[in-house]
């Protein structure tokens, strides 16, 4: 599932890299040159440094990563619902699953408080306005979310976070099976689901070009879609 390096240019302003905590030299230089230390304040990893212990710090990073994935999904389904191009069972799937993803965002934001990473701005490039494109994108997002959670869950230290992440992980798998059936592919294609490392997830998300700006905290750059 790895993607070629030529996809990296699509990560405008390093938004994906920032949202996923993948620090690049370019990003570090850019941030330093622009003097935007404020940007670090909305970045999950920056908040980590203020956390009390190393295990808390690790958990905050994992939860912010999960929050970022939930932001993308919530915004995607919310926009699809608003666009109104879906009918019948597909519209029902978008309505129910969208509500779940928004609930996941709310839960993570609530528990992270001031340490929560802000929502990026999205451009779903027409995939929310066409049933076929919506189906394919939703299948990719849900399968990706399952694989991402599976990779991160064993890293969590606090039992309550572990239980919450496990409970969300299986809901993402239900979503995946649901949309796969609507897309005409096997809901459960394999006996075992594999995890996907964070860098791979970031590369795949970057390849979509859906994330068009890093999170901002002020005025004009406020998220257009927050789910």
């Amino acid at each position: 599932m790895s993607l070629p390096g030529w996809l990296a240019p699509y990560d405008r302003d390093g938004a994906i890299a920032e949202a996923f905590g993948v620090f690049t030299r370019r990003h570090a230089l850019h941030a330093a040159a622009a003097g935007v230390s404020a940007a670090a304040g909305v970045h999950g990893l920056a908040a980590d440094a203020q956390a009390a212990s190393s295990s808390d710090r690790g958990d905050v990073a994992v939860l912010n990563y999960a929050l970022t994935l939930e932001y993308i999904q919530a915004a995607f389904y919310s926009e699809a619902e608003r666009a109104g191009a879906l009918r019948g069972p597909l519209a029902e799937q978008a309505r129910v699953v969208g509500a779940h993803e928004r609930a996941h965002v709310a839960a993570f934001r609530r528990v992270l408080g001031t340490q929560a990473v802000a929502a990026p701005r999205f451009d779903f490039r027409g995939t929310t306005e066409d049933a076929d494109a919506f189906r394919k994108t939703a299948v990719a997002f849900e399968d990706l979310a399952v694989a991402a959670y599976k990779d991160q869950i064993p890293l969590l230290q606090q039992p309550a976070f572990l239980a919450a992440a496990v409970a969300i992980h299986s809901v993402e798998a239900r979503h995946a099976a649901w949309i796969r059936r609507l897309a005409g592919v096997l809901p459960a294609a394999h006996a075992f689901d594999d995890p996907l490392p964070r860098a791979e997830v970031a590369r795949l998300v970057a390849s979509t070009r859906f994330v068009v700006s890093r999170p901002r905290t002020t005025g004009a750059g406020a998220p257009r879609l927050t789910g």
């Binding site: 993570f108 992980h169 809901v171 798998a173 239900r174 649901w178 006996a191 689901d193 995890p195």
Partner: protein
């Protein structure tokens, strides 16, 4: 109402149903589908504090999960033999039967000498016709997933990774079975865990008798 509906959180539970079912119903009916995850995320333990993860504790957990996989494997094997299935339900049973068999194999291999001997599973009329097969599949898959979600957080990281590779597949089975049965595939924003006792009660309620060798 069929007893299996007690474990379907999208269906109102009958009076006297399990406390857990009542709780799920309350959540489903609008007490807030997110409350469960909120509770967990906000730091309240999902159940009384369990013992520290250890290899020994992993063996007990994995043996219970093995029991559930064996029950599922037995159910789907019998459903295939009984015939009388067609269309997508038949495809579902064929695909899922192979998955459960693979899960049993993996757990037996992982546990080695520590693996419990197979139980005697009596399915009564669970595979009598397509409707019963569909309803039993929904109950079994939701129960198996709820058990994985309950047990997985108590495993050591070494035990957790392989268990997570299976639990999401059980979730996919559950969603598929529910969709085929005309139920919402993902009824809640966060799946509720179920204790071992509640899962055993659920199996009995589904008409499945499990006798373990002494």
């Amino acid at each position: 109402m069929h007893v299996l509906d007690r474990f379907d959180c999208s269906t109102p539970a009958s009076a006297g149903a399990l406390t857990r079912a009542s709780f799920l119903r309350r959540v489903a009916l609008g007490a807030g589908a997110t409350s469960a995850v909120m509770v967990a995320v906000l730091g309240l333990p999902p159940r009384p504090a369990a013992s520290t993860p250890s290899t020994q504790a992993d063996e007990a957990i994995l043996n219970f999960l093995l029991l559930l996989e064996r029950v599922q494997a037995a159910f789907y094997a019998q459903a295939r033999q009984a015939g009388a299935l067609d269309g997508e339900l038949r495809q579902f049973v064929d695909v899922v039967a192979e998955h459960e068999r693979a899960h049993v194999e993996q757990l037996v291999e992982a546990l080695g000498d520590a693996a419990d001997p197979p139980p005697r599973v009596q399915l009564e009329s669970a595979t009598a016709d397509a409707a019963r097969v569909g309803a039993t599949a929904v109950a079994l898959e939701d129960l198996a997933l709820a058990s994985y979600n309950d047990q997985v957080p108590h495993l050591t990281p070494a035990g957790m990774r392989p268990a997570l590779r299976v639990s999401s597949v059980e979730a996919r089975h559950a969603a598929w079975a529910r969709d085929l049965a005309g139920k919402v595939p993902a009824p809640l924003a966060a799946d509720e865990p179920l204790s071992e006792d509640a899962v055993r009660a659920g199996l009995r309620a589904a008409g499945i008798s499990v006798q373990e060798p002494p």
